[in-house]
Amino acid sequence: MKNMLTIISNALCRITGRNVLLIDLSEYVNVTSPPAVPALAQTQAQTQRQPPKPPPVSTRAPAAQLVSAQADQLDTPGTRAVVSRSFADFTSQATFDIKKCDVHRLEEGPPLKAELTREQGLRYYRIMQTVRRMELKADQLYKQKIIRGFCHLYDGQEACAVGIEAAINPSDHLITAYRAHGYTYTRGIAVKEILAELTGRRGGVAKGKGGSMHMYAPHFYGGNGIVGAQVPLGAGIALACQYQGNNQVCVALYGDGAANQGQLFESFNMAALWKLPCIFTCENNQYGMGTSVERASASTDYYKRGDFIPGIRVDGMDVLCVREAFKFAAEHCRSGKGPIVMELKTYRYHGHSMSDPGVSYRTREEIQEVRSKSDPITMLKERMLSNNMASVEEFKEIDIAIRKEVEEAAQYATSDPEPPLEELCNHIFSNDSPLEVRGTNPWARLKSVS
């Protein structure tokens, strides 16, 4: 029993990031879930609804400490008392070999080794697993017809979102297309606000007015429904970073399907001309809707499609590979070298969207093979276990906690009321006096406030 308590308390220490553990372990006997996690998944109380101001200091300062690759917090001086059971049971840090990245127009690429601390590993695991379970819950809710319209799920691609977020700062910027739930989470929105947006409730991150493809957060510009349109937007955000001299970068994501869009090449041209700090990132999950890459692109070397822009092809199923590559890319941009093109080779387990079973253009065997051999969450877990960085029980605990969090979020998302009709016409204009909006007939004069 005491052994179990120690394990749980160790896990809690790591998950909560607290240095101090309450002394009496017996208090933890009835633990059902860890306290609210302060890291990347903290709830964004979106009280500030104003036009964007000149670059703010990161609104999530505590998260910044956790995001960057920091040494184990317990190593810092002034760390307070720890549990009676020492952490020497687990390896606190290990170095892993990661796949070499193919590079284009670069003398050298990202490093071949990645360091991972126990704390980071558990954190990446938790975040990836949360995204996984959140997407599966969305699948479930969609099949129950509680979510309607478009729903593009991200399961399988978790290492991309988590690896990128681990490499950049919360004050950096990110924009993606419609497969956006994972990024909405990693950029700081709580699961319940995401699910409530999918179910169209007032507690959703966009108050139910946006839906799956239109979720926003500080320094996260959605969620964009028009294929490819987000890429020039991302280059524009990078322009703003350069203009304001704030040393921030923008990650502009797109898929293998969007990689052939003309506006991408227009963006590449201007970004290279003006040396914009933009990390153009192709999440190549092999299929643009039902069309495989070979059938859509004359060249499937998406990392080379920037032509005069350097490029890196990354194993998008390995969170460490993604992290190291993006650290490299961010450094490239911040040092004024201009944009860079990344290709993340990844895979989605679901079809293109919930209306696509995903097996008419690929085999179930292929999906199963990726799941068994390259699943990002399994890979990380196995790495940590085989290096004695964590225990099976710890992972189980995390899983249980996440399941509970997602279940509660789903509860919220199904019980929260829909937005009130009085809000129908609001948010047309920012910072404007109230105006009248014509309803469905001439006598319907509706009110709109900013």
Partner: protein, 360 residues
Amino acid sequence: MAASVRCFLRSGKNAVSALGRRGFHKSAPAAVQMMVRDALNQAMDEELERDERVFLLGEEVAQYDGAYKVSRGLWKKYGDKRIIDTPITEMGFAGIAVGAAMAGLRPICEFMTFNFSMQAIDQIINSAAKTYYMSAGFQAVPIVFRGPNGASAGVAAQHSQCFAAWYAHCPGLKVVSPWNAEDAKGLLKSAIRDDNPVVFLENELMYGVPFEMSEESQSKDFTIPIGKAKVERQGTHVSLVSHSRYVSHCLDAAVVLAKEGIECEVINLRTIRPLDVECIETSVMKTNHLVTVEGGWPQFGVGAEICARIMEGPAFNYLDAPATRVTGVDIPMPYAKILEDNSLPQIKDIIFSVKKTLNV
């Protein structure tokens, strides 16, 4: 077009001499003549100076001084950072401008003409106009899209379309269409200061037309509110409602009609969306007759919207005749001068329509 220029130069001269006569008793008010392009230039210059987040991008805006010289001198004054020459990639640079607006800047995105904005229209509508609503008030997009709209002279079908109706159709956009130099300056300043996407429709044929600028308009803080029309000429028999270049045509037609005892009230819309319906209604309730005048095509156009709105409101009961729309001819713009001249509303068309509406 030449007739209107002469007309205004004449009225300008008369105004100046009138002022001179009164000048013995007090110092003459500083009446200044300014061309529309210079008024636009001054507006941008003042706003660039006032707020360092404002910047201009577009084709030839910097080193060429602007394809129509509207941005003359700005690059020399503000440099590469604030005045940016772009490649000929509308979809790309419009998207970049929208992204920059989302991330805290206040871009002015110039289209060499609004015909080219069709390449970028997805960014204007889906990325700019709809975002504040989709994000439930989280993400504003303070951007101005500006450039010449509508017919020019001899530039043929692909370079002559009027986009007022297209953009005014969409919620989330403000659509502004100035007529004279004062409109141009005051409305552009308002548009730049507005926290929302504004489509600012200029007119190439008006760029070189000089107008008198009131003293008030010479201030660096002079703005004209978006969404308010202006009655340019008081009248009692018919309301002539127009925007942009055709306000000149309406005023000229009014002069001719006045000689026959028909007093036209001429309304300069200034803003297409939101439309100042109240101003039109007030006028129609006084004159009992409505004629709209625009350069764009008739179907689903600005005039069509005005007619529908008047029908739905209190002014309908005051109409003594159905409202009339004077519009461009429903064809792609031809090249030959005689054909082009007859593709657009002329003063005689306005006079004819007014008389038909009044049944005289």
